[in-house]
């Protein structure tokens, strides 16, 4: 039993807080309708397994993703966020993801600056044909966030983890 206690997972931002046994992260996946959502659909229809930790929200375009969405998800249940859209140049709305890209960089750097680990906020470009890539991305993100432990920062009262 002692070895188990030693191996306990701690929150990377607050090392004094230990994760409960069998803790699984919750990841908010915000996917664009035209590429990544179709890509995730292809992953499912091709029977490729990916971790069930991701909770998917569909948005019209990656530029619909307000930095506010990330803040709100991190404040509630999420331990990490994954935002995914079309590859640059492939946007259904021609230039949406170019605008989104700027916002993502600034949001990621700012959240890292105020004390979130940079791996908690992740971005990816997944096209509608890249089913295996989507599974790979979700696997990687889940693995990375599992290492960081539960998020204990700025949770709303209802969502504070014991």
């Amino acid at each position: 039993m002692e070895t188990e206690v030693k191996d306990q997972l701690v929150s990377i931002e607050k090392p004094e807080l230990v994760a409960p046994p069998n803790w699984e992260p919750v990841i908010m996946g915000i996917l664009c309708n035209w590429c990544s959502y179709a890509g995730s659909d292809l992953t499912g229809t091709s029977r490729i397994q990916y971790p069930p930790n991701i909770r998917i929200i569909r948005v019209p375009c990656s530029s619909r993703v307000d930095p506010w969405f990330l803040i709100k998800s991190l404040q509630t249940t999420a331990d990490g966020v994954l935002v995914s859209g079309c590859h640059p140049g492939d946007c259904h709305y021609i230039t949406g993801n170019y605008y989104a890209r700027r916002r993502f960089l600034v949001t990621k750097k700012l959240l890292n600056f105020v004390g979130f680990h940079e791996n908690r906020i992740q971005f990816s470009w997944v096209s509608a044909a890249e089913g295996p890539k989507f599974a790979k991305v979700v696997n990687k993100v889940t693995e990375e966030i599992k290492k960081l432990g539960p998020l204990h920062l700025y949770k709303k009262e209802n969502f504070e983890k014991k």
């Binding site: 990377i12 931002e13 607050k14 090392p15 930095p67 506010w68 803040i71 709100k72 404040q75 640059p88 230039t95 170019y98 605008y99 890209r101 700027r102 916002r103 993502f104 960089l105 600034v106 949001t107 990621k108 750097k109 700012l110 959240l111 600056f113 105020v114 004390g115 979130f116 680990h117 992740q122 971005f123 990816s124 470009w125 991305v137 990687k140 920062l153 700025y154 949770k155 709303k156 009262e157």
Partner: protein
């Protein structure tokens, strides 16, 4: 730096010519050597106006009030203020033909202890970029410097930064003075208030403060001109400039050296894009 006489003359001239209804300037606060903003509608009050190196506030903020809306306004702007005025003009919040702008070639504002303020030491554009009349001698654009506080904090380990900012957000009392004092926060309804729609969510918790300040600073990313009106207004003396300067430095480094409001008709950094924007952080 003392332009009291010139500004009084200009204001008096404008009132006699009937060019303006209101003049926005500074006056002494009456009990020490600090100054407060003043809106002058009566030509006899022109003698109240002053301008020295203690004129800290950004008067562009007063263009959003009922006292100045749809009126012809005379206005004193320093370098940083003129950048925010430039953005307000670009975003169609004020009409240029309604304004008479007295631009100042600023030499730096002094705080209570007699030192130059931090944002004036790091100032990039000390001369007014929008003006009908320019006072002082222009000194030209200065090189951009990364804020010293940002550099010091970014070098610290993650857990220390987390602890530092938790204290910052904990001390916020959610008075929204930062929002009201910001010239670029002109929305009639603010999305931050959505959180305060219910009594419970509007509670003054660290989480609510985190939400409010982060949302606010991200809405100002690429638009903040570093006038530090928010920091002067904050009753808890929170280091609000940290959030803004962090965004500013990221934007300056990555997005073709974008500086808010320096070029006329140039909108914030999030209103445009470039194919050369960094892509390496995306999987």
């Amino acid at each position: 730096m003392n332009y009291t006489k010139q500004i009084q003359d200009i204001a008096a001239k404008l009132f006699t010519e009937g060019k303006i209804d209101v003049f926005v300037g500074y006056r002494m606060n009456g009990f020490d050597d600090n100054q407060v903003p003043v809106l002058i509608t009566d030509p006899q009050d022109v003698s109240k106006l002053v301008f020295t190196d203690k004129s800290v506030f950004n008067l562009v903020n007063y263009l959003k009030t009922d006292h100045t809306r749809r009126k012809r306004v005379g206005l004193v702007v320093k370098g940083c203020d003129s950048r925010s005025l430039n953005l307000m003009l670009t975003e169609s919040q004020v009409k240029r033909e309604n304004l008479y702008v007295v631009g100042i070639c600023c030499e730096g504002i002094v705080d209570d202890s007699g030192h130059k303020m931090q944002n004036c030491v790091e100032c990039v554009v000390p001369d007014a970029v929008v003006s009908d009349e320019l006072l002082g001698t222009p000194s030209g654009q200065k090189p951009y410097m990364v804020n010293v506080d940002i550099a010091a904090l970014a070098a610290k380990p993650l857990t220390e930064r987390t602890a530092y900012f938790e204290e910052v957000f904990e001390n916020c009392i959610r008075c929204n003075a930062c929002r009201h004092s910001c010239p670029l926060c002109y929305c009639a309804k603010c999305c931050i208030d959505q959180e305060t729609a219910t009594l419970y969510n509007g509670a003054n918790t660290t989480s609510a403060a985190f939400h409010a300040l982060m949302t606010w600073s991200l809405h100002l990313a690429g638009r903040c001109v570093d006038c530090r009106n928010c920091e002067k207004a904050c009753p808890s003396h929170l280091p609000l400039h940290l959030l803004h300067k962090q965004n500013e430095s990221v934007i300056y480094e990555n997005f073709q050296e974008h500086l808010a409001g320096v070029i006329p008709e140039d909108r914030g950094a999030f209103y445009k894009y470039s194919l050369k924007d960094p892509d390496d952080f995306i999987m």
